[in-house]
Symmetry: C3
Subunit: 278 residues, 3 copies
């Protein structure tokens, strides 16, 4: 049997030793654990950013992966540590919405408020529950301890509503930028399947996108199809509309940030659709 | 048996391939090794910063962990490679003080000057002893080679005195900032146990802290207890006094850096203590 | 038998979850894989930088290592995914020159254009072939699938000529800066063996180097041999001439960047050589 995998997502950065200390604590409980770092560069205490990053990464991990998510501005206060179990995965995190994208999907078996001190470090600091609460919990869960061993189910966990696109008129949609990646690509919350539900799944005709003052005509099949240094629109690897600049940085070029509105307009229906109605 | 763990701490950064090359060399000697990165973002050649980071992280690793610490401004010159063995751990590093926090604790079994060329790479470069000396040493030590196999004990290894707080008057202590973390928290060298040794272990009465021109009244139990964007004082996860800004960045707000003096004052003894003396 | 190693080199950065998603996909195919990160901080889409970093790191990995190299500005377009097999290693990458330093060496067994969809993810996105093509390929190759299982050999793969030094006159060579490391060291393409081929292998006499307006006299044996804050010249751990500043940052001090010309001059032959001719 392969040894168990813990995937980590935090805002701890890579300079400070916080992540390594969590790993050391976990290896003290389960010496066979293996770790995959999703990211530790979530902007400090940005719960929403972590929720977005988690939502697009966890489905690619093999079943039984344990996700340890620590973005925890409320550390030491009243917020609860929770364990979420789905058909495939286990998630350990503070109850502050950071698991929002997991909890809003089907397949959540239960949400447990972890209270059993046997699965925490003996002495719990005021400032680093990643080390004292969440890492030990994840390690014990990897050893066969079950979610129900660590506490009782709750229903009133914190929900985090991720923004959704809306239809402004028959041929006009509005969503927003939810993430800027390293390349400056602007990832929106407008999914291919959302558009297909409104405009059909194949040919959407002439498409125009707008973000800030930049207007983009046409949908690209790949980045290099667009002229160099020109903004383009593509369905990205997450099935979401993404604004890019071929060979450049769309975030810098357009000035858009997380939350910037993005409009997608259908200038005319597809030729085939038009001919059907003529 | 679980495979052996090497924990790495360097100033090599994450862009250059130096760390990966060390790992490749170690896997060539012991293919089963597993690696935990403590940090590679120590400021270039800042021995003292590495010593602080090591001191607060190594105790959380399981016994038998081998620590490979390479911050090595004197590479290629006369400084010696050393192996330090304690009851629980093995440390491999240049003899330049970077292991200062380990060497000043009880429990050091011996400090070995590594000289046996069989445990180095065959050809040793002038600029990268991480690859040619320290990584191979760590890998061979993970294979059952003992510290005494690689050289002879020395006593004249380089000491690094970490700064200590002092008592200025009965109710006034002075220490300094020893580390700024990613969140801008200012970690001082004033420990809870040091204060308890002077003022008793339970109630210290009204406390005031000062760093640069910022004055903080009261000791917090958790970050969010302090009003937003306001500096607070807390005993952190390392048992040290830490100045933070709830939801903000204390280093930026106060202008303090490593070495900035921090004063802790007892404005009045605790009510109980006062009543006893009245 | 130890589990197989995949070494990753990309321009994906460490903030976005791209690298973790590739690892998740690979673990879904081969749960025993272990990963070593060479670097993910290659400047976005800088193929040449990745080729240099790969060339100086791959030879230090143990045989059977699989290298997964994804710097892929042409993702989604016509560029081909390739698998390169040498006597010791397997490389998986886009056919855009990023494997240039591998392909120009002896020992390449074959270059395969990977076309067999059974070894890709079922649905291939337009923007993330790291996840959908290259990671699954690497994972399947780690499971015993052979390079010839995934496609047919090609000869017309993209070559990348790395710059070479040249001799301007008997005692004068010119090369260029090919890499600036974290410490600001300027690594050139002028190797010790190239110089030895021209001027003999032992004593080169008085050497002068010039980069931008900085002139350096003499060749150092180790960094600290040069006066502090002064530029020096050394044969580095890759056997290449490197310009450094002892305790400082040569890139900042000299203003040199990748591509800056570097001259190496022999001011006079070695004393021994001179006496032989006198």
């Amino acid at each position: 049997m392969s040894s168990q995998i813990v995937a980590l997502l935090t805002d701890f950065g890579s300079r400070d030793p916080f992540v390594a200390v969590m790993k050391g604590v976990m290896l003290g409980i389960n010496p066979d654990l293996r770790f995959i770092d999703i990211s530790h560069e979530i902007a400090p205490q940005r719960i929403r950013e972590a929720a977005v990053v988690l939502s697009v990464s966890f489905p690619y991990f093999p079943p039984q992966t344990i996700f340890l998510v620590v973005v925890d501005p409320g550390v030491g206060g009243g917020r609860r540590p929770i364990v979420v179990e789905t058909a495939e995965y286990i998630f350990v995190a503070p109850d502050n919405g950071v698991l929002g994208s997991v909890l809003s999907r089907a397949g959540v078996r239960h949400v447990i408020h972890a209270t059993e001190p046997a699965y925490f470090r003996q002495s719990i600091s005021r400032t680093f529950h990643g080390r004292d609460v969440f890492a030990p919990l994840a390690a014990w869960l990897s050893c066969g301890v079950t979610a129900s061993d660590v506490g009782a189910p709750i229903e009133d966990y914190v929900r985090l509503e991720l923004s959704r696109p809306r239809q402004l008129s028959e041929n006009l949609l509005e969503g927003e930028v939810i993430y800027r990646d390293r390349f400056g690509n602007l990832i929106t919350n407008i999914s291919e399947s959302y558009i297909a539900g409104l405009w059909g799944s194949s040919d959407w005709g002439r498409i125009r996108a707008q973000v800030e003052t930049s207007v983009i005509d046409g949908l690209d099949s790949y980045y290099a199809q667009r002229a160099p240094d020109t903004p383009g629109l593509i369905i990205n690897s997450w099935g979401l509309c993404e604004i890019f600049v071929n060979g450049g940085n769309a975030a810098q070029e357009t000035g858009a940030v997380e939350g910037s509105p993005v409009k997608i307009q259908r200038l005319q229906a597809s030729p085939r659709a038009v001919s059907e109605h003529d």
